[in-house]
C-alpha cells in the first residue's frame, strides 16, 4: 500500500489537481478560488483511486463505493473551503467533480449505440446511472455532516 501511494497515488493527486483547476478556469470560477478548488478535486479523486485499488469487488461495486465516499469527501471539503473563503459551495464542488462525473461514460453510451455495439452501450449506461446517483447521495451525506458539525461548533 505504501508503494501504491508513492507511485500511483502521488501521480494521480497531481493529475487531478491540474484537471480540476483547469476545469475551474473553463467554468470561470473566481481566480482566488482556483488553487483551493484544485486541491479539493485532488482529494476527491485520490479517495476514489485509493478505494478502487483497495476494494476486492466487481467493477460496478468499486465504482459505486468509490464515488460515494469521494463525493462525501468533496462535499465536506468544499463546505470547509466555502466557509474559509466566504464563497458559495458550488464554486468548489462543481469543478472538483470533473474526474468523477460520468461524462466520459455518457458519451461512450451514445458512441457505442451509433457504431452498433448496444451491449457495450448498456454497460456504460449502467455506470452512468450508478455514478450519477451515488454522487448525488454522497453530496446529501456531506451536507448532513456539514450541518451536524456546524451545530456542534455553535
Amino acid at each position: 500500500m505504501g508503494h501504491w501511494i508513492l507511485t500511483t497515488g502521488i501521480l494521480q493527486l497531481v493529475l487531478a489537481y491540474f484537471a480540476t483547476a483547469g476545469f475551474g478556469v473553463l467554468l470561470n470560477i473566481p481566480r482566488r478560488a482556483l488553487n483551493l478548488s484544485g486541491w479539493v478535486g485532488a482529494a476527491g479523486w485520490l479517495t476514489y483511486e485509493f478505494l478502487y485499488f483497495l476494494l476486492p469487488t466487481s467493477i460496478n461495486v468499486k465504482l459505486a463505493v468509490g464515488n460515494l465516499i469521494a463525493a462525501v469527501v468533496i462535499g465536506v471539503a468544499s463546505g470547509l473551503a466555502a466557509h474559509y473563503k466566504h464563497m458559495p459551495m458550488i464554486i468548489f464542488n462543481i469543478p472538483s467533480l470533473v474526474p468523477l462525473v460520468p461524462g466520459g461514460q455518457s458519451y461512450r453510451v451514445v458512441r457505442n449505440l451509433v457504431t452498433g455495439h448496444p451491449h457495450v452501450a448498456s454497460e456504460y449506461l449502467a455506470q452512468v446511472v450508478i455514478i450519477a446517483g451515488v454522487i448525488a447521495i454522497g453530496f446529501l451525506i456531506a451536507e448532513f455532516i456539514n450541518r451536524v458539525t456546524w451545530r456542534l461548533i455553535h
Binding site: L11, Q12, V14, L15, A16, F18, A19, A21, G22, F23, G24, V25, L26, L27, N28, I29, P30, R31, A33, W45, H86, M87, P88, I90, I91, I94, P95, L97, V98, P99, L100, V101, P102, G103, G104, S106, Y107, R108, V109, V110, R111, L113, V114, T115, V128, A132, G133, I135, A136, I137, F139, L140
Partner: protein, 250 residues
Amino acid sequence: MEQTNVMLQATLLAGAILLENGAEIERVEDTMQRIATNAGYPDAQIFVLLTGITVSLPEAATSQVRAIHRRGMDLEKVDQVNTLSRRFAAHDIDLTQFATQLDQVNQAVPTFPFSWLLIASAVVSVPLMVAFTGHATPADLVTCALAGTLGFSTYYWVNRLGSIRFLSEFMGALIIGLITLIGEHVAPGSYHPDAIIIGAVMPLVPGVAITNAVRDTMTGNLLSGPARAIEAILSACAIGVGIALTSFFY
C-alpha cells in the same frame, strides 16, 4: 408601489442570473427567498422551474414572471450574486443599489482571457487521459493536447458566433474525432485513439449536468431535474454522434 416593483425585479434578476449560470434549483429558491425577506416581504412566494421563475406577493396581490432561455456555466456570476445578497442582508447596500449592482453583474463580470481557456482545456484533457487510461506515449500526449484545445475552441467559437447549443458540442466533437484520425496516420510509435478521445472530450461532456439533474430531482424538483437530464442527454448525443461519425473510418 414603486418599491414593490424594484423588489420584484431585483429578486427575479438575482434568480435568473443564478439559474442561467449553473446553480441548482434549491439554491436559487433559497437565495431569492432571502432577498425577498430582507427587502421586507417575508411572505413572498417563489416558484422556480428550469425554464422560468415566478415571484408573487400575496398581500400586494401582484406577481411577475421571467422566462429563462439560456443555460450555461459561469461560477463567477454565481459568486458575485451571492456576495451582493450577503451585503444586502447586512444592510451594506439598499434595495436600489442592490438592483443596479445586479444589473452590472448580469452585463459583465471578469472572465479569463481566451489564451487561458486554451491552456485550461489542454490541462483538463491531458491529465484526465493519463488518469483514466494510464496511456502516456509522446504521440498520445501531443495529440490529446491538440485535440482538446482545438475541440474546445471550436465549441467556444460556434457558441459565440451562432449560439446554437447542441451544434457547438457536435462540431467540437467532430474536430476532436478528425484530429485523432489524422494523428493515427501521422504519429510515430504507439498510439491509443480511444484514450485520446476520452481525454479530449472531457471539457465538453455533460457530466456535471447529469449529476446536477439527479441532485435537483432528489431535492424534490420533479420537473426541473428530469428537464436538466434531457438537456444533458441531448448534449451527450451531440458529442457521441460527432465522434462516431469519424470513428467509422478506423
